[in-house]
């Protein structure tokens, strides 16, 4: 019973508080205020709570209320069932993927020891690991995340097809083609990292990234697989269908792509799903390549650098401090990557459909295969 309750609490905290709350509002706010700064504008400041514009936050609420109150329109001749279910098919996968993202290492009921001689592995002495900081502890977490991310293509394709509009159809086709193409490059660029980590368990992968090269350089994914990091980030950007890869909804060409015939909350769900996908890709990149919850030189039993070891505030207290620091670290990494995506979004123009395909199949795919091959050779030699 307690297990179920803990899981429920975790789901609520991670999905509703973190993803929809912190990340959602940060991205929406950041998106608006940041784009305003980039573009020499003031940004939202007219809606106010008691005379305070609060960085445009009331606009965000007003938008939500407006979208809820809008009329829900299903176009004539559209397939009503599919048209209605498509937003859910986009939105739900964007949230399910979070179940395997660890926000912190498992909680140790005993004391944690870090073993520098064994690649800075942390072991739990006199106790056991309790999974309190990720919804689900899954052996094949990466595969699961990928499978779920891939499912959202159905939503877009179905939305495009069921709307009975040619613009929607084009948008749906573009989005399926794009997502499938980039799925391949994305998976292959990750394969190199998987070869090195030797596990599909995301938390294990993050733990391994706690290793320090020469006792000072954190062995994050970006250090051991630099090319794969960029390939993965690029393919991930394309997966989220945001600029410069926003051709499924390229508003000047095909009106709004598969979103054309959506109004009200259905439209909002699609949009929110996109934001959630942006944050999810950021989280995936963070855990696989940027050390996840690892903070450089901060370990559960103290700070370690160049073979030195301090434990400020005593072991007991430090453990809790390290938990907070590590959750802060992954949150910061995710928000940084989201910020990076928005910077690109507001700077770059949109690709053309065939150029995206060329980039995916002719550039990213061969590069990721080469990366995988080279990694495999090196791993074999070293092993």
């Amino acid at each position: 019973m307690a297990e179920v309750l803990i899981t429920l609490v975790k789901i609520i905290v991670i999905v509703f508080v973190f993803v929809l709350g912190v990340a959602g509002s940060m991205t929406l706010l950041g998106d608006r205020k940041q784009s305003a700064r980039i573009q020499n504008r003031v940004g939202p400041n007219q809606a106010k709570f008691f005379g305070f514009s609060l960085l445009g936050f009331p606009h965000f609420i007003a938008d939500g209320i407006k979208l809820v109150l809008k009329e829900n329109i299903v176009p004539a001749q559209a397939n009503k069932f599919l048209h209605t279910i498509a937003p859910a098919l986009v939105f739900i996968p964007a949230l399910i993927g979070w179940s395997v993202i660890p926000f912190m290492d498992h909680y140790c009921t005993g004391t944690v020891m870090t073993l520098p001689e064994h690649g800075y592995t942390e072991v739990c002495v006199d106790g056991e690991w309790k999974n309190y900081f990720s919804i689900m502890h899954m052996n094949s977490g990466v595969l699961f995340a990928f499978a779920i991310a891939a499912i959202s293509v159905y939503g877009a394709a179905i939305a495009g097809w069921a709307s009975n509009s040619k613009f929607s159809l084009l948008g749906g086709l573009r989005s399926s083609a794009q997502m499938i193409s980039y799925e391949v490059a994305m998976g292959l660029s990750l394969a190199g990292a998987l070869l090195i980590y030797g596990t599909l368990n995301i938390n294990e992968m993050v733990r391994m990234q706690g290793n320090l090269l020469g006792d000072w350089l954190p062995m994050w994914g970006i250090v051991i697989q630099p090319l794969a990091f960029f390939l993965f980030l690029l393919a991930g950007l394309a997966e989220t269908k945001r600029a410069p890869f926003d051709l499924p909804e390229g508003e000047s060409e095909i009106v709004a792509g598969y979103l054309t015939e959506y109004t009200s909350m259905k439209f909002a769900m699609m949009q929110l799903a996109e934001y959630a996908a942006t944050v999810f890709i950021a989280a995936l990149v963070a855990v696989v390549f940027l050390g996840g919850w690892q903070m450089p030189w901060v370990y559960a039993d103290g700070i370690r650098i160049f073979g030195n070891h301090w434990t400020p505030f005593g072991e007991e207290v430090w453990y809790y401090i390290s938990i907070v620091l590590r959750i802060g670290a992954i949150t910061f990494k995710i928000l940084f990557l989201v910020w990076l995506q928005f910077m690109m979004r507001w700077t770059l123009p949109r690709f053309r459909y065939d150029q995206v395909m060329t980039l995916g199949w002719k550039i990213l795919l061969p590069l990721s295969i080469a990366n995988l091959f080279i990694t495999a050779v090196i791993v074999t030699i070293l092993a």
Binding site: S35, I38, Q39, N40, R41, K166, F167, L170, A243, P244, D246, L247, G250, E251, S252, E253, I254, V255, W346, T347, L348, P349, R350, F351, R352, Y353, D354, Q355
Partner: protein, 401 residues
């Protein structure tokens, strides 16, 4: 011989081209044009253009107004650079009247016309970026246009519908301190142009979208009657300002940028370069301009001073006649052409000797360019329509008249 195993499969797959109505209510065609596209996948195999959604009957309206009352209508032709239309029309009527305007008037017309051209090119370049999704570059360019419009507002009293030209002169002289304000605007404009240049000109995505799309050959450009930056992008060096100088264009030093590929990218580069040239021309105008009258002294054409209108009977009658009967233009016809933002803006005017034009025909560059746009679009991808349509810079008001 092995049997081709794909044959039966190919037969099973039934496919046909898709018809797509792009516009008039479409984000890229903004209510002014409709493309009926035949698509094969995303490739455009046929494009039928339909214009006229913004038709207001400019030519017919003009026949029912006095010569002076036509000015507000010309504002609404190319509404991004209304001053150029004002002056183009004024020049046409002056040629019919065979009157000369004072030198200062010509200088101001040159200067204000170039300001308008700046606004036109900045809008076009910015919008090109906007429609490709690069919103930031658009807003930078629009800041430049705002600066230009502030100057125009200061001189003419309006930002968009300026009605600043008059037959035989201008509404007003330049304001005091115009030169200082221009200096500020100029500094900012150069910065903005550099910023946009940095964001777009060497941007890989932008290059991919613009280079080699919407290609126009010089032969085709000439045979369809293309003019302006679009024709110059193909390598045809034709600029009315250089080849048939009017106003003070003969007196100032400026270059006419010419491309060689005729694609969207060349058109973009030409507009970016013309921004620089326009700034040069304005600087020279301000330098060479001498104080003096801005209106012709011909009493048939120019309204008398208010002093005379209120105090003398001749002035009163003169004022009354010009306002109510209009300027009496001698019978005859004229075709006068100037270089507007998009190309050669021609006015063909027939007068029957009364105070109202008998016939005004506008050779609007946009309409003529829309006549051949299908050639630029066909064979490309659906997404290529956007940059092509943008660098053609079709302005609904001018095209549909």
């Amino acid at each position: 011989m092995a049997e081709n195993i794909y044959d039966p499969i190919d037969q099973d797959v039934h496919s046909e081209p898709m018809m797509l109505q792009m516009g008039p209510s479409h984000p890229a065609t903004h209510g002014t044009v409709r493309f009926t596209l035949t698509l094969e996948g995303e490739k455009v195999i046929k494009c039928e253009t339909e214009v006229g959604y913004l038709h207001r009957g400019f030519e017919k309206e003009s026949e029912n107004s006095t010569w002076t009352q036509v000015f507000p209508y010309t504002d609404r032709l190319n509404y991004v650079s209304p001053l150029l239309n004002n002056f183009g029309y004024a020049l046409a009527v002056e040629r019919l009247l065979e009157i000369e305007v004072p030198e200062r008037c010509d200088w101001i017309r040159t200067l204000m016309g170039e300001l308008s051209r700046l606004s036109d090119h900045l809008t076009c370049t910015g919008a090109a970026a906007l429609e490709l999704g690069a919103m930031s570059a658009f807003l930078y360019a629009i800041e430049g246009r705002e600066l230009v419009w502030d100057l125009i507002e200061e001189v003419t009293g309006a930002r968009l519908t300026v009605s600043y030209g008059r037959i035989g002169g201008l509404k007003d002289d330049l304001t005091e301190g115009f030169e200082e304000r221009w200096k500020y605007a100029k500094r900012r404009l150069i910065e903005i142009r550099a910023e946009v240049d940095k964001l777009l000109t060497r941007n890989r995505i932008f290059l991919d979208r613009f280079e080699g799309t919407g290609v126009l050959t010089p032969e085709m450009g000439i045979s369809y009657g293309y003019t302006g930056p679009v024709l110059r992008s193909t390598g045809v060096d034709y600029d009315v300002r250089k080849d048939h100088p009017y106003f003070m264009y003969g007196e100032v030093d400026f270059d006419v940028p010419v491309g060689h590929r005729g694609d969207n990218f060349d058109r973009y580069l030409i507009r970016m370069e013309e921004i620089v040239q326009s700034i040069r021309i304005i600087d020279q105008c301000l330098e060479k301009m001498e104080p003096g009258p801005i209106n012709s002294d011909d009493p048939r054409v120019v309204l008398p001073e208010k002093e005379k209108v209120y105090n003398t009977i001749e002035g009163m009658i003169n004022h009354f006649k010009i306002i109510f009967e209009g300027i009496q233009v001698p019978p005859g016809e004229v075709y006068s052409y100037t270089e507007a933002g998009n190309g050669e803006l021609g006015f063909y005017i027939v007068s029957n000797g009364t105070g109202k034009p008998w016939k005004i025909h506008v050779r609007s560059p946009s309409l003529i360019m829309m006549g051949g746009i299908h050639k630029l679009i066909e064979g490309g991808l659906l997404a290529d329509i956007i940059p092509t349509f943008d660098t053609i810079n079709m302005i609904g008001g001018e095209c549909d008249k």
